[in-house]
Amino acid sequence: MKKSIGDNIIPKGMSFEQGLQLVKRAGYDGIEMWLGAQPWFQMKTSDAEARDLYRKIQDAGLLVSNVSNSLDWDENICARDPRVKQAAFRHIERQLETARMFETDAILVVAGVVTEQDPYNEVYGRCRDALQMLGGKAASARVKIGIENCNSEQRFLLSPREFSKFLDEVNSPWVGIHLDVGNIHDDGFAEQWIEINGPRITRIHLKDVLKHRGRCGNQSVYTNLFLGDNDWVAIHNALQKVKYDGWLIAEMESRYHYAADQQFFDTAAAMDRVISGRL
């Protein structure tokens, strides 16, 4: 397994190049590029500029693990408004394009957000239909779409079995699950998500979660590896069971208040322990 971390965690005030150097120094193999999260990688970023970003990544001795986006929360493929839905299609297509430029084979999409106004069944059908369509584009690009499980925030596809059945309905080998082991909270067990969806996992986000605290306003329930309630032995064993050998990507929502760069090193060391099973 290889280690990666998102460019969205590069501390404010650091340039992209400085961030890459930090990522490399901390021992990561690659970087996750977040479309829409940082000034250097936006929808308006041209192809030439994207290629320049990739050159810098290569110069730093890193690979791109995948292309994610921070835009799905406002522009989702489940939107009723056709213009919003179209915008979602555009940024996902841009992810597919840039993934090819960055020579990676996976993107992350948050598909479906259930709200008081957008009911579950409506979101379900619209997401399925949209992903069937996007699956064709992903196949052409030879880049897999990983649907992230943001259980609590999406209020959608809340169990591993339902997620699996949903993917059955999408019925494309180019659409799988980008599993976030920190997003399951007290609604289940990350290791069971791994077991049930094993062959369909495109990438894995690592973070820990304080399962029983719930969200308290803006206070995050997500925390650094080994500080939460995830069973990391079980997660390691389940990864071995399904023979997952792909990217593990750190996604730290809770940031260090001081010495921001230290979080990169600490997280990399913790990821090494998850990979080796020294837990």
Partner: protein, 240 residues
């Protein structure tokens, strides 16, 4: 309407999965007889898992409530309980004469007396010695999930289910371990081959576990290629 007529109708209709006939059966003659499964709940659950595995191979199979007396090529005993003497002898005759048998121990959750009966039966019939000591016990509550590690027919990990029962090798080949102990073996007996699973696989198959499905497919494929099963079909024997 005769039983044969019912079966013939079933192979091309919606009853097909319920009858346990392989999906690719269309146009082929179905099994000769099917008896309603009256097994206990775990045997039934496990049998469902093995049926699903067999169905995936496309091979014809029948469901019985006892070890068949007619010659079979492969017999699967899911969550096998102690069998009446007559059936045990039948099973032995089948194996010696070239039948492949998969026995999944039904000792998990069984009473101590039932475990003993099974243990004596497998030892006397096939020379398979199962360790029933309490130390072989269960997976301690609160422990992280752990897996049975198969290294035949492929390196595969399967969720541990209920109690596990270490099996002594005594001339057999180890095919799986759990916590450092042998829990599954394969053994040549006469002209036949026996796979003895001391840790249940069928319920994991019924739960649609990917690795379990691959493992079972590999086992069945191996047994089929060795025995070249083409004519006789497969019988799942279930016990009440």
């Amino acid at each position: 309407m005769t039983r044969r007529h019912i079966l013939f109708t079933a192979v091309s209709g919606p009853l097909l999965p319920r009858l346990g006939v392989a999906a690719s059966e269309n146009g082929r003659q179905a099994g000769r007889w099917i008896v309603v499964d009256q097994g206990n709940s775990l045997a039934r659950e496990s049998a469902r898992g093995f049926q699903a595995a067999l169905r995936r191979t496309g091979e014809r199979f029948e469901i019985s409530d006892s070890v068949p007396s007619c010659s079979a090529e492969l017999i699967v005993l899911p969550f096998a309980a102690a069998l009446p003497r007559q059936q045990v002898l039948r099973l032995r005759t089948q194996v010696v004469s070239g039948c492949s048998v998969i026995i999944e121990s039904g000792a998990s959750f069984a009473s101590h007396d039932e475990k003993l009966r099974q243990s004596v039966m497998w030892r006397h019939t096939f020379g398979v010695r199962v360790d029933l000591r309490p130390s072989a016990g269960t997976w301690p509550a609160g422990d992280s999930p752990d897996y049975v590690r198969y290294h035949w027919p492929a390196d595969t990990q399967i969720r541990h289910f209920g109690e596990f029962f270490p099996v002594h090798l005594s001339g057999a080949e180890e095919i799986a371990i759990y916590r450092g102990r042998t829990v599954a073996i394969r053994k040549q007996i006469g002209r036949g081959e026996l796979l003895f699973l001391g840790s249940p696989l069928g319920p994991i198959l019924a739960a649609e576990d990917h690795q379990a499905a691959e493992l079972a497919a590999g086992m069945i494929q191996h047994l089929m290629s060795v025995r070249a099963i083409t004519q006789q079909g497969v019988t799942i024997a279930t016990r009440s």
